[in-house]
């Protein structure tokens, strides 16, 4: 098997990008005590929104903003049903995902007369790829780190922004306190509903970026069902990392790496495609088991230490 390691690492980062956005979207909601499964559908809506606004607005910028706006709108829509309408969040998000699957095709058909892709009817705009001035000249590292989409760099910056927001700002503290114990938060005068809306808004923002990356960076058009479960993977990535932004990013990178490896193996090995499709998921489950074993052992050690005292 011939494999260009630099390109492999480059792809790992590229494939992890939508997952990182999805994981960040999910973990903000999680810290506010809400397990939002609707991210898959939100990303799908945003992916369609991005190409639509790019086409009608005639530029990449309107597409980027449109994608984010649609992401935020869908987030607020779920937030509205859950927080104001008091619906069950699981049922709402499951219904929302099903609605997004059909709804995006319907809206696309109304706009383009095409039921599978916007590729023919909408002009394509791409979020630019950026060459980083100094790094791009470093032999190996330059090939791995430079030349990514603007959104990829934004994803990595976002990891630290979200960490900062959650652990270093007042609103982050409020989000976490609502997640820990809404009653207690309410009793000291924090509006659970308001904080919930902020969490859904931020979740929508990152879902919007994930969708925009899929339809305006990875490929340059929208296609029905193009998320292919990436929202769910992001969701489980943050779950594995217990809601830690950095941990979620690492899990996303692990998933990106295994997917990238499986892609190469599809061309160069005799393994059945179905088996290779399984690898990223299998690796994720194994990683969850291993991290959990590690955590349990650590807890046991601490408890033993306490008992010895």
């Amino acid at each position: 098997m011939t494999i260009d390691i630099a390109a492999f690492l480059f792809d790992t980062i590229k494939m992890a990008t939508p997952l990182i956005f999805a994981a960040l979207a999910a973990l903000i909601n999680r810290h506010a005590g809400m397990f939002n499964m609707g991210i898959e559908g939100m990303i799908l809506c945003a992916a369609l929104g991005a190409v639509t606004f790019a086409h009608y607005g005639g530029s990449m910028i309107t597409g980027l903003l449109g994608g984010i706006a649609v992401g935020i709108l869908t987030g607020l829509f779920i937030g509205f049903s859950h927080l104001t309408g008091k619906t069950d969040l699981y049922l709402t998000t499951i219904a929302f995902n099903l609605m997004a699957t059909g709804g995006t095709v319907f809206v696309m058909y109304l706009m383009t007369g095409d039921k599978s892709t916007t590729g023919a009817a909408f002009r394509s705009y791409l979020v630019p790829n950026i060459d980083i001035p100094l790094i791009k000249d470093i032999p190996f590292l330059g090939k791995v780190l430079s030349g990514h989409s603007l959104l990829t760099y934004l994803a990595f910056v976002s990891i630290f922004l979200v960490w900062f927001l959650l652990y270093k700002t007042r609103i982050g503290l409020r989000i976490r306190s609502v997640g820990e114990n809404p009653m207690a938060a309410e009793s000291v005068g924090i509006s659970v509903t308001k904080v919930g809306y902020i969490a859904f808004l931020l979740c929508g923002l990152f879902s919007g970026l994930a969708g925009t990356f899929l339809s305006m960076s990875w490929v340059s058009f929208f296609m029905k069902g193009m998320t292919s479960g990436r929202g769910y993977i992001g969701l489980s990535a943050q779950n594995m990392a217990n809601g830690s932004p950095l941990g979620s990013a690492l899990v996303s990178l692990l998933f990106g790496a295994t997917t990238s490896l499986a892609t190469t193996m599809k061309s160069q090995t005799k393994f059945p495609t179905e088996f290779l499709d399984m690898i990223p998921y299998l690796a994720t489950i194994l990683a969850i088991i291993l991290t959990n074993i590690y955590k349990i052992n650590k807890k046991r050690r601490i408890e033993k230490g306490k008992a010895a005292e």
């Binding site: 892709t117 590729g119 023919a120 394509s124 296609m223 292919s228 892609t263 160069q268 179905e274």
Partner: protein, 371 residues
């Protein structure tokens, strides 16, 4: 409140009566169709697809249906989605509504087989499939996609500067394997003729949406371009193929389209620059073949209980020979392709088919011989 309930109940009754009435109506038409079966009742054609708008397979069939409607046939196309658990019921509904010629691709074969036994007076056409024990009221159409693929494979080998070409599919199945077999055969024959050693890499998109995941397809092609230096890519992957065109556009390599003339489709769209990598397309004229089949049935030809194999000589498969193709493929190569085309049509040259292999292992071996 009570009044409202009464009105609602009345409405409910009304609607249920209307429903009954409709059912009765439907029930009456079926026996009529059955009685008329002896002296050939007028054909009412139902064409089943999961979705139109794929720019290739289903749409090509729909063009044939348009032609039939233009000829005055009563025809309706049913888009029945991806949920296969509902397929049989939906086809059954169409039969109950009086449709007596059911057309569907291999995806609907099993449901049609069950229904064919239940409704001996209804006729079925299953296309893009080959199978045994075909009932009396069913006809099957199989395309020699291997013949068309042979020609584009031959061309790909001639065009490649790096000595590595690719064929990327949505998912492996017998029909798709037939495409691959023909393509590999074309490359092998080119190698034998010119003493070259062009290799073929084959991969499948797989996953949840094998025919609609352009992102994965694009990644596959970029990967093959980088690691193996592939420079001609043949897509047999429906909607995923768009990802292949984008990858070729980015890396400056050649793409080969499938099913319909994808150069024209893309050129007419909003992003015509992506068309400038599609050197040609392997044509599979589903629509034409269905029209021809219906005409044969009307003429009383015996097409039932067997598989009709349609290939180059029936103009059911072929390749696009447009100006872009002429401008970019060298004259000698085009002549050689035309020669091979004529030889196959005349029966002088037989293209290897997937259905010739005795086992899956033999097919794998065949692929391995050019890897």
């Amino acid at each position: 409140m009570k009044k409202l309930l009464t009105v609602l109940a009345a409405l409910l009754l009304c609607f249920s009566l209307v429903g009954c009435n409709k059912n009765n109506g439907g029930g009456e038409t079926t026996p009529e169709g059955g009685e008329g079966g002896g002296e050939a009742a007028p054909l009412k054609i139902a064409y089943f697809v999961s979705h139109l708008g794929d720019k290739s397979f289903a749409d090509s069939g729909e063009r044939g249906m348009e032609q039939l409607r233009g000829e005055g046939y009563e025809q309706k196309t049913f888009e029945i989605g991806d949920d296969s658990s509902k397929y049989k019921d939906q086809i059954n509904d169409a039969i109950d509504a009086g449709y007596n010629l059911i057309i569907g691709s291999s995806s609907y074969r099993d449901y049609c087989l069950e229904l064919a036994a239940e409704y001996p007076d209804v006729k079925f056409i299953i296309f893009d499939d080959s199978f045994d024990n075909i009932p009396d009221n069913m006809a099957a159409i199989l395309y020699s996609q291997n013949e068309g693929s042979y020609l584009v494979g031959y061309m790909a080998a001639g065009l490649s500067k790096t000595g590595q070409v690719a064929v990327n599919v949505g998912q492996d199945n017998p029909v798709i394997a037939d495409f691959v077999t023909g393509y590999v055969n074309g490359v092998k024959d080119y190698n034998a003729q010119f003493g070259t050693d062009v290799k073929v890499v084959k991969a499948a998109v797989g996953g949840d949406h094998p025919w609609g995941d352009p992102a994965t397809m694009k990644q596959l092609c970029l990967d093959q371009q980088r690691n193996l230096n592939a420079d001609v890519f043949y897509q047999v992957a429906g909607g995923s193929g768009m990802g292949l065109f984008e990858a070729c556009y980015e890396t400056g390599t050649w793409a080969i389209g499938v099913d319909s003339d994808q150069y024209t489709t893309v050129k007419d769209g909003q992003n015509p620059e992506f068309a400038d990598v599609i050197i040609t397309s392997m044509l599979k004229e589903v629509g034409n073949s269905l029209v021809a089949m219906v005409h044969k049935i009307e003429a009383g030809e015996d097409v039932w209980k067997k598989v009709s194999v349609l290939g180059l000589k029936d103009d059911s498969v072929g390749y696009v020979d447009n100006d872009f193709f002429k401008a970019n493929v060298p004259q000698e190569l085009r002549d050689a392709m035309a020669q091979a085309n004529a030889d196959i049509k005349a029966g002088k040259l037989t293209v290897k088919s997937y259905y010739d292999f005795a086992s899956e292992a033999e097919y794998d071996e065949y692929l391995a011989s050019v890897q």
